[in-house]
Amino acid sequence: MATVDERVVAVTARVLKIETSEIKPQDDFTADLGAESVQSIELVAMFEEEFGIEMEEDAALAVSTVGSAVEYITEVCKEQGVEV
């Protein structure tokens, strides 16, 4: 089974229409990967769908980098009893 990191990168690549190889943990979704306003929302929605979780909107949108998204999603999965 893919790791949280790999799944976050895959979703990011799909939503932002870029190659997974272009995505690094320290990348900022907006500044480095070019996520626009709607894409930021789509990313959160797709992460929810991928992991089967519900994220708090403001907290989720405050996450700025790929690495911090992995950390935040891992924590939410743990809180909501979702195995990853």
């Binding site: 709607v38 929302i41 959160v44």
Partner: protein, 465 residues
């Protein structure tokens, strides 16, 4: 004033709690107008103070000329239309008569039928008054109609006296007007002299001598017949701010009539025109300088560029008084809908009633609306005008705009509101309209409704069923 002598320090007053200035911006009312000092105007070389606080405490009111000046700017209203609008004017102005009078032509069978039908409604306000030419014989019409008061043309500039009316002299003109005023007294009808074109007239040489004479004549009749003066800024030349010379200065005009000629405020009325975009503020300023009556038309429809809009005066009145005073502001929206239904165009960006008067397009503004509607709404337009704030969706609306639209559409408030995350498919559809399909127009409510139904079926079922 261009040299700065010393700079004053202004220390930051830090706070962690917002100060929303709610004493002025009470969301339940149009924002209050709070004065913190007198208005000073120099008249005949001396400073004169106008106290706006005292002015606001007077019994200021609105008079309407929708059926006279308003009708000069459009095809005639039908009798039914005028009766309905009269009924709405009565509801809007409320039982305290904030809309105190409205005037009618008396010349045709339709004019007289309209007047009768309006009076049959039994409203105390607005009182029906007449409008006639300065012709003695016309008083027969006023008397037959049973009216207590009528406006009459007493044009005042030399443009009118000599070039239009062809009088040989000012004295001949004044004598002629005074004969008609006498005829009004004899008929037991109160004359309201419409001093047309005062902002192009000779105040010292004609206006004030004529008003002096009218005041002397009024001393000979009971109070209820004493002459009223309508100050008609026929071409919209009037200027509201201090420091302007006569005949364009509104403070000077009103001061002269009020304080030098002795016309009481309750017999002074301002009638403006909008040729220079000044009509509303000129009317409101006339209240502050000493006129009790502000004459206007619904939505400002009137000769050429129009008159002070009655609904604007209503909001100004509430802002000055700090209270609704029995006014039913929601009737403004009803009137606008009715006007549209009978073919009167109201621009989309027209204040208070235009289709988009409280619609925001920019996404960043919609974000503000989403978190607190007060940020981009002038007052509680839902409560006062039956018009919730809206967002119109374009490529500039952003996700916040889409989310605001969806929540308003479902009528969801506070914690029930749907989050951005759940609206992402509709937001994507909107963006694709512009980015992928090259759309150049705003998205209609109907289109969006279809998308919400298709892309958010769970919410649709929950909130529309």
């Amino acid at each position: 004033m261009s040299t700065i002598k010393a700079r004053t320090d202004h220390p930051l007053v830090d706070t962690t709690e917002p100060n929303l200035l709610e004493q002025t911006f009470d969301y339940n009312l149009p924002p209050k107008i709070v004065f913190d000092g007198p208005i000073i105007e120099h008249i005949d070389g001396k400073p004169v103070e106008f106290d706006p606080v005292a002015a606001v405490q007077r019994d200021i009111f609105i008079t309407d000329t929708t059926f006279r000046d308003g009708q000069q700017a459009r095809p005639p209203y039908t009798v039914e239309q005028m009766v309905h609008l009269y009924d709405l004017l009565a509801k809007l102005g409320g039982p305290n008569g904030i809309i105190r009078q409205t005037e009618f032509f008396l010349y045709t069978k339709n004019d007289r039928e309209t007047l009768d039908r309006c009076r049959e409604l039994g409203h105390q306000f607005p009182e029906c008054t007449g409008w006639i030419r300065a012709v003695k014989g016309d008083f027969r019409l006023v008397k037959e109609a049973g009216l207590k008061e009528t406006g009459m043309l007493t044009s005042s500039s030399d443009y009118h006296i000599f070039n239009k009316l062809k009088f040989k002299s000012r004295k001949a003109c004044m004598d002629s007007y005074c004969e008609v005023v006498d005829a009004a007294f004899e008929a037991g009808v109160r004359p309201r002299c419409h001093r047309e074109d005062v902002t192009r007239a000779d105040w010292d040489g004609f206006i004030m001598p004529f008003v002096d004479r009218l005041m002397r004549m009024s001393e000979q009749v009971p109070d209820e017949l004493s002459v009223k003066i309508r100050i008609c800024d026929t071409m919209g030349f009037g200027i509201s701010y201090p420091g302007v010379e006569l005949p364009r200065s509104i403070p000077k005009m009103i001061y002269k009539l009020n304080q030098e000629c002795g016309v009481p405020s309750d017999r002074l009325e301002w009638h403006g025109h909008n040729d220079f975009h000044k009509t509303h503020i000129n009317g409101a300023s006339a209240w502050l300088y000493g006129c009790d009556a502000l004459n206007g038309t619904l939505f400002g429809f009137g000769e050429r560029c129009g008159n002070p809009p009655v609904e604007g005066a209503i909001i100004e009145y509430i802002s000055l008084k700090g209270d609704l005073c029995g006014i039913r502001t929601e009737v403004i929206s009803e009137m606008a809908d009715y006007m549209r239904s009978i073919g009167l165009p109201i621009p989309d960006n027209y204040p208070l009633v235009g289709k988009h008067f409280n619609t925001t397009r920019a996404g960043i503004h919609a974000g503000g609306l989403r978190s607190d509607e007060r940020i981009y709404n002038i007052f509680d337009t839902t409560k006062l005008l039956n018009r919730p704030p809206r967002v119109a969706l374009t490529d500039k609306s952003g996700t916040d705009g889409v989310v605001h639209w969806i929540n308003e559409f479902f009528g969801l408030k506070k914690d029930d509101r749907i989050s951005k995350i759940k609206c992402h498919k509709v937001a994507r559809w909107v963006m694709d309209q512009y980015e992928v399909h090259g759309r150049m127009t705003a998205i209609s409510d109907e289109e969006l409704e279809t998308q919400v139904q298709e892309l958010m079926p769970v919410y649709w079922k929950k909130h529309r069923s």
